[in-house]
Symmetry: C2
Subunit: 199 residues, 2 copies
Amino acid sequence: MFPESIQKLIDLFSKFPSVGRRTAARFVFYLIKLPKNELEDLLNSIVELRKTIKICSYCFNPFDSFENPAEMLCPICRDPNRDKTSLCIVEKEMDLLAIEKTNKYKGIYFVLGGVMNLKKEGKNIRIDELKQRIKDSNFKEIIIAINPTVEGEITSLFIERELKPFNIKTTRLGRGLPFGGELEYADEETLESAFQGRK
Amino acid sequence: MFPESIQKLIDLFSKFPSVGRRTAARFVFYLIKLPKNELEDLLNSIVELRKTIKICSYCFNPFDSFENPAEMLCPICRDPNRDKTSLCIVEKEMDLLAIEKTNKYKGIYFVLGGVMNLKKEGKNIRIDELKQRIKDSNFKEIIIAINPTVEGEITSLFIERELKPFNIKTTRLGRGLPFGGELEYADEETLESAFQGRK
């Protein structure tokens, strides 16, 4: 029904997180009507994003490598003041940011890249990379800071089981997070007490 | 908190219809991780869209002008078999498409570009262009096919009032559409009976 160039772009926008075909179509009509300079701004910003943003080779957190394109580590991983004996495992970038905002955690992170998808038996998360990091480092504590949702709990249990052979103290965020809630939406106080009440 | 290039793109995606800052941030992380060829496909498709899609100079419906770049009218407006004495006023492109799918309406359209925003006193919809079209044509019937929502009803009343001086039979889609429902989501049967039951 739609012209081909519209149809193609609806297909591509439908792959964006939380976007269905109807929303994708709205995006396309929005782009058709967008003033030329705003469209160019959008396209340039996407190109710029890909040019300057790198994924940290240690923790997988994105960072701006504009000032030093050869840099492989994010500012947190290369900060000498961060405690390299404490690792905090999060599902995604936004969760890392939420914890950083509390300003209470001084260790380093690992971005898992998702939660367990039972069909894929954990192959959609960075479990092998995580084990490699732990093998190569000297962690005294590992904090599993994954959303207390059903999938998140399954993921946390899976990680605990996988990390057991390393024999490192492993904690989970406890107090403060209601079951079914999402870490990303927690206010700083709640998150802070969840951090302190870890057990 | 985010690097500047991420922040900038979050700002731009937040302007997309129905996208908040959190969803915008998810889009940015999606783009960061998108394989290079898929990213290029997306950028090229947007450029292509803007190159080939034109807005019809009569009804404001987007159409593909790839085969004839000089064409100003959409396929519906230039179809000699469409009844040029019947005008159907819709809020947006998706609504036009929904009506076309019923295959029952043989007149032409006018895309209003939105519903009344009381603050803007109707300046956000194409009411002047609509009146100009009616002045330049010989319509025997005008069908106001706007969503039966609160804003839609206000818009329909506003249009009826504005078009009264033209003294043309004006109908509204009646039977079939539940109050508060949206035309875009109606199934073809419901929409067809709404069309037939206009009064």
